[in-house]
């Protein structure tokens, strides 16, 4: 009965639902407008409508047929970008409240004297200092002054903060002061979201830990409120499956864990897209990929080498350092909803302001009068000038044209030139984002295939590829819902770590074995909590190691089996190999240390299997559903352009640009000079005509 695996990606503009039938491998997609004031409404609506279509037999309990529910969200990211977290207080060790502002004392830009740091999330008057001091050895130098701690808690409550972060020096070595502080805060301010450094990022380096725990507090109530609204709505649909949320590392966790650790979900949405792209790219035979996920409000790009996206354990996200495992994804605040305007210097600019889903672009006729990128596409007729979303949403081209006309007047240009100008500016902005992850890291984009997805990716991909001289664009079968699809290709994953400075010698066998035993116990608890069957459980152990004296570690995998003297020898020789490979030398005789022991717990899920289809020959005429005038800059005019239905295109079909391919969740532009073909998995592959 419950046989549907459901993935939901909730973006700033649309909520995408991907439904996969565990029994026959069928994949269905559904898309509804997001409801930014309360995203859970749009999600429930999307799940309800989607399930009613595929499982009408469930009647008024459409959620009852859901066997698995995975969800990616931009709630935390958006709150961070727009600085819409809650009023947050901070408690630090006496003498260190300003550390949050000072950071590593480096300026934001080496040469630009006008550059600013991102705003400090807790103002100075909400940062309380409390006498206490733990030494690096774990000894207590100064006991926690409980009276002052209580006074600090009361002051923060009086200041009406909604969340409080606690971060003491060495809290990760001996957490009892932090724990006691949290207890006192809970007593004094039971309604606040409270978290401490030892829970969120129990690792060395006080500033990065502080930044992570402050962000977690700042976002905590936002995420909690979100989950508290979504859970009953899903239950109301009759869903009994445990809901899951994607983390920035591309793995998923349960809602409860996500509510406590929102800082681990800041890349939730985009990471599922990367996971989806990875799976589809590998299947299609392309594993050197640059992903281009352009949605309504933001765009995410990532680089996959050998089919893999690099993982980082610490990154700076929107200006704030975060210590958490994350895929290496670069985000820019621009998408289909980005608003075009003329700046003070008389230049045409697009974004970062967005019209969002409501009121949406001018052509939605919901009251917005400032033209967005989507309006430019409607005027150029690269987008259907009458309706979007496969006919479900009517659009008003006349309104879009008027709005762009006003801009054109200010610029002293024609309407069509202005509309095309908006797209050129967008393309240049996107190219800059891709340069950050490719050229700036030494990768030539010309060696990669551009994988375009998100509602607006395929619309802009060919132009972008041209700008970067990339020869090939891959548009997956369901580009608008690739993130949602990625959710059905993702394993459950949790990371456990213990920082413990130990010599990498036989003397440490007992301690290492004990540490892994307690990490394993935590992982087993987590497996049980997530209802993961024994056969689907996987544990991977690694040790971060370094020469005593270094401060950066190399992650060395542990051999399977119990920890013995042989394990320690395997670790030291593994470390030596890695060190030689990375730095070209081995410091013989120098003592080696174990720093952090890590356990990665994976719960394997049954993944959606993508089907391949037989070749139907090159003739694509059967998929032509009409023709319209589309404005192409190559012609400087409207060109009669065939319109293909993506649903009717079959494997082996070939056609040449100019052409437009329409489907419910996106529109693909094939400009003059490019040709398109359909592969066995129904991916559309655009290539530059030789």
């Amino acid at each position: 009965m419950a046989r549907w695996r459901v993935g939901v990606d909730s973006g700033g503009t649309f909520t995408d639902v991907c439904l996969f039938d565990e029994e026959d491998g069928r994949v269905e997609v559904w898309k509804v407008s997001s409801t930014p004031d309360d995203p859970s409404r749009g999600i429930a609506q999307g799940v309800e409508e989607g399930m009613r279509r595929v499982a009408p037999e469930s009647g008024d309990r459409p959620g009852a047929s859901v066997a698995y529910f995975g969800h990616g969200t931009t709630v935390a990211t958006n709150a961070l970008i727009q600085h819409r977290g809650v009023r947050t207080g901070l408690v630090t060790t006496d003498g260190f409240r300003d550390l949050l502002e000072i950071g590593r004392q480096k300026r934001p830009d080496l040469y630009d004297m006008q550059a600013d740091k991102p705003p400090t999330l807790v103002p100075r008057d909400l940062r309380q200092e409390v006498p206490e001091r733990v030494r690096y050895t774990g000894e207590i130098d100064t006991p926690l002054d409980e009276a002052k701690m209580r006074a600090a808690a009361r002051a923060l409550k009086a200041a009406d903060v909604k969340a409080i972060a606690v971060s003491f020096l060495y809290g990760f070595i001996r957490p009892e002061h932090e724990k006691r502080a949290v207890d006192i805060l809970r007593e004094e301010h039971p309604d606040a979201f409270i978290c401490a450094g030892h829970e969120i990022a129990p690792e060395f380096r006080e500033y990065e830990r502080l930044s992570t725990v402050v962000l977690n507090a700042y976002l905590g109530p936002v995420m909690r409120r979100y989950i508290e609204r979504l859970t009953p709505r899903l239950q109301g649909l009759g869903m009994t499956a445990t809901p899951h949320l994607t983390q920035s590392n591309g793995g998923v966790i349960g809602f409860a864990a996500a509510a406590d650790m929102p800082v681990r979900t800041v890349l939730s949405g985009p990471s599922t897209g990367v996971v989806g792209a990875q799976a589809i790219g590998t299947l299609a035979g392309f594993d050197e990929l640059i992903t281009f996920d352009m949605g309504g409000t933001s765009t995410d790009v990532a680089l996959l080498q050998g089919g893999q996206c690099k993982m980082t354990s610490e990154a700076v996200v929107h200006g704030y350092p975060i210590k958490a495992p994350m895929l290496d994804i670069h985000t820019v605040g621009a998408g289909g909803g980005s608003i075009a305007y003329v700046d003070a210097g008389g230049l045409l600019k697009v974004g970062p302001r967005s019209c969002g889903a409501d009121p949406g672009p001018v052509c939605y006729a919901r009251g917005n009068e400032e033209p967005a990128t989507t309006d430019a596409n409607v005027v150029l007729q690269t987008l259907n000038p009458d309706y979007l979303l496969g006919g479900r949403m009517a659009v008003r081209q006349d309104l879009a044209r008027e709005a762009i006309g006003r801009l054109a007047e200010t610029l002293g240009l024609g309407v069509m030139e202005t509309a095309q100008g908006i797209l050129s500016v967008v393309t240049a902005n996107m190219a800059r984002a891709i340069r950050v992850i490719s050229i700036q890291r030494g990768h030539d984009p010309r060696d990669y295939t551009l994988m375009a997805f998100g509602g607006a990716g395929p619309l802009h991909a060919a132009r972008l590829a041209k700008e970067l001289e990339m020869k090939r664009v891959l548009v997956p079968r369901n580009p608008g819902i690739l993130c949602a699809m990625g959710l059905l290709l993702t394993d459950l994953r949790a990371d456990f770590a213990a920082t413990k400075l130990l010599p990498a010698t036989e003397d440490s066998v007992t301690e290492v074995a004990d540490s892994f035993a307690s990490l394993t116990a935590r992982a087993e608890d987590w497996f049980a909590q997530e209802h993961i069957e024994a056969a689907a459980r996987r544990l991977t152990r690694t040790a971060d190691m370094r020469y005593a004296g270094q401060n950066y570690e190399l992650a060395v995998p542990l051999p399977d089996g119990p920890v013995t003297a042989a394990t320690m020898h395997a670790l030291t020789s593994g470390f030596a190999d890695l060190h030689r490979q990375r730095y070209g030398f081995v410091a013989d005789g120098e003592p080696v240390q174990l720093v952090t022991l890590r356990l990665e717990a994976t719960g394997l899920v049954r993944k959606a299997e993508l089907k391949s289809y037989p070749d139907a020959g090159p003739d694509a005429n059967g998929a032509v559903i009409g023709q319209r005038q589309v404005w192409f800059p190559e012609a400087g005019d409207f060109v009669a352009t065939p319109i293909y239905s993506r649903d009717a295109l079959l494997p082996g079909n070939r056609f040449a640009g100019p052409a437009i391919v329409e489907q419910m969740d996106t529109t693909t532009v094939v400009p003059p000079g490019m040709k398109a073909r359909v592969d066995a998995y129904l991916n559309l592959i655009l290539e530059v005509t030789a």
Partner: protein
């Protein structure tokens, strides 16, 4: 056997190839920098990142410098020409690595900055150089009457010959260092960094062809020059003079400094005046002066200009030889970064008259340094801990200055407290912004920092700080920044520039604040209220100066 490859019959390149290769060169120097930091042992490199990496062409011109520490360029631009002067190019072989630090015979700017330079061979000829510099925190507790007191002088000599370590050279260096284990490990990390540089550059040549890479390198120098010229040409022509003084615990009088900046169409000339060189470690070599001037001019003219030798072509820098700002052998130079910082603000003061919107008011105008030295109780080994502190950033034409940051020619990180206390017998008691230290104004100057240390074992501390007797100036009606100073706990005496600390005693260093911009009466009342609520200013300042 070798000869330097010259990009003679340069192919004409499309702009995308030039851009891709330029970005690849940037990513090579960033990657070599990461290798250096990650493999190193000393806190000054592994956490504070007091190091830089660069690529040079065969002629010794900077192709690309990593975004680390601008003053390090002063050592880079000197070393390759010195190597070529002292060693026969034809005798160089793959795997030769030169080490050097000397301010007069090695192109350096002060002795702790040890440079490793390695020629990159492609097809049997030198195509480029990979060069890196690490500030070894050693040579501590020295005199500074002349350079012979300041540490071991190393002219560029081979540390590796065709890949073979020259153990005798290494032993000679290490015996002259106070913390030899750290020096050895950091030198190894510097070797690791150069190895990455060599491999990546060779791979780049294999991919695009050596002539293309070298031609792109030349095109990038021309491009930086074009951008610099266009930027200067957009500024008004004229000559602007600015004067300030420099003070420091090492000297008892204030030194007068002046600059005349002349903009003539698309070029700029900077002429500096300063007293005769000092018997103190505050003198600047000419390359340090160049690196400082290039940094400031690039920042004001166009911060996006590529950091290569092309940007220097339209800029002429002069100063009398034998003066503080262009010193000659045997002047001491250890604390030259203090002076470089003051010179940076001096140039800004002159340019403020030409382009007031692009500059900042005077920043904290120094690089506050505390150097601790002691002997371990357990094994008698000497330990040296050096740290630099940020201070106020000057207020801008439309916004407040940055609080507690490194400015101008330096940009090192602080050392995490959790690393400091693990490595040294010191406890950091407080680390905070200093209230009232930002100059008043429509836009407030940045605040200075205060660090309070407790010695857990007997040790000695030396402090470089400035603005003790002068203040960082405000612009267009903005007020001056707060002074720099030291604070001594009970039983501690600060004598000239250092103090002896017994276990359990405390000592504090305060870095200067920065100048404000515009008259304080024009400050937004909401900003004044916020400063009051946050304790950035007191009620006195709010009522008497801001009339709030």
């Amino acid at each position: 056997m070798s000869s330097a490859l010259q990009p003679s019959s340069a192919p004409v390149l499309d702009p995308i190839t030039v851009e891709v290769i330029g970005a690849a060169l940037s990513s090579i120097v960033e990657e070599t920098g990461e290798a250096l930091i990650r493999a190193s042992y000393s806190t000054n490199i592994k956490e504070r990142r007091d190091c830089s990496t660069a690529l040079f062409n065969a002629a010794g011109h900077t192709l690309c410098q990593a975004e680390h520490i601008p003053i390090h360029l002063g050592s880079f631009i000197g070393i390759v020409p010195h190597i070529m002067k002292l060693h026969d190019l034809a005798e160089m072989k793959p795997g030769d690595v030169f080490v050097g630090n000397d301010a007069y015979e090695g192109g350096g700017t002060h002795l702790p900055d040890i440079v490793l330079a390695e020629p990159i061979f492609v097809d049997g000829a030198i195509a480029a150089w990979t060069v890196n510099l690490a500030h070894h925190s050693d040579f501590a507790d020295r005199g500074h009457a002349h350079i012979y007191q300041e540490g071991l002088r190393i002219p560029p000599v081979r540390l590796y010959r065709a890949g073979q370590l020259q153990k005798d050279v290494q032993e000679l260096i290490l015996l002259n260092c106070q913390v030899p284990r750290e020096r050895l490990s950091d030198l190894r990390a510097q070797m690791a960094a150069n190895r990455v540089g060599v491999q990546r550059f060779q791979a780049l040549c294999a991919k695009y062809g050596t002539t293309t890479v070298l031609a792109a390198g030349e095109a990038l120098l021309d491009y930086a020059e074009r951008k610099m010229r266009a930027g200067i040409a957009a500024m008004p022509d004229g000559t602007w003079r600015f004067e300030d003084v420099f003070d420091n615990p090492e000297i008892t009088t204030n030194l007068p400094l002046a600059v005349d900046v002349t903009i003539a169409r698309d070029s700029m000339t900077l002429h500096f005046e300063s007293p005769d060189q000092l018997r103190a470690g505050l003198n600047m070599t000419y390359t340090a002066l160049l690196a400082t001037a290039y940094y400031v001019v690039k920042s004001v003219v166009d911060p996006t200009i590529l950091p290569n030798a092309g940007l220097a072509r339209p800029i002429t820098v002069t100063a009398r030889s034998g003066s503080v700002l262009n010193c000659a052998h045997p002047a001491a130079v250890n604390g030259r970064v203090q002076t470089c910082q003051r010179v940076s603000d001096l140039i800004l003061g002159a340019l403020a008259q030409a382009v007031p919107d692009r500059v900042t008011a005077c920043s904290n105008s120094t690089c506050t340094v505390a150097t601790f030295i002691g002997q371990r109780k357990d094994n008698g080994a000497i330990w040296v801990y050096l740290e630099t502190m940020g201070g106020g950033g000057g207020a801008r034409a439309s916004k407040d200055g940055l609080d507690g940051v490194h400015v101008h020619v330096t940009n090192t990180s602080n050392l995490p407290v959790e690393a400091l206390e693990l490595e040294y017998p010191l406890t950091l008691l407080r680390y905070e912004l200093v209230a009232e230290s930002g100059g008043v104004g429509e836009f407030r100057g940045g605040m200075g920092l205060r660090r309070v240390y407790r010695a857990d074992e007997d040790c000695r501390v030396r402090v470089d700080v400035s603005r003790l007797r002068s203040q960082s100036w405000g612009l267009l009606g903005g007020g001056p920044g707060g002074n720099g100073h030291v604070e001594c706990g009970p039983g501690v005496t600060f004598d000239r520039d250092n103090a002896v600390l017994k276990a359990g005693q405390w000592f504090a260093v305060v870095s200067p604040g920065a100048g404000g911009y515009g008259p304080p009466e024009k400050r937004d009342p909401k900003a004044i209220q916020r400063d009051l609520a946050e304790g950035v200013i007191g009620t006195d300042t709010a009522t008497t100066i801001y009339k709030a």
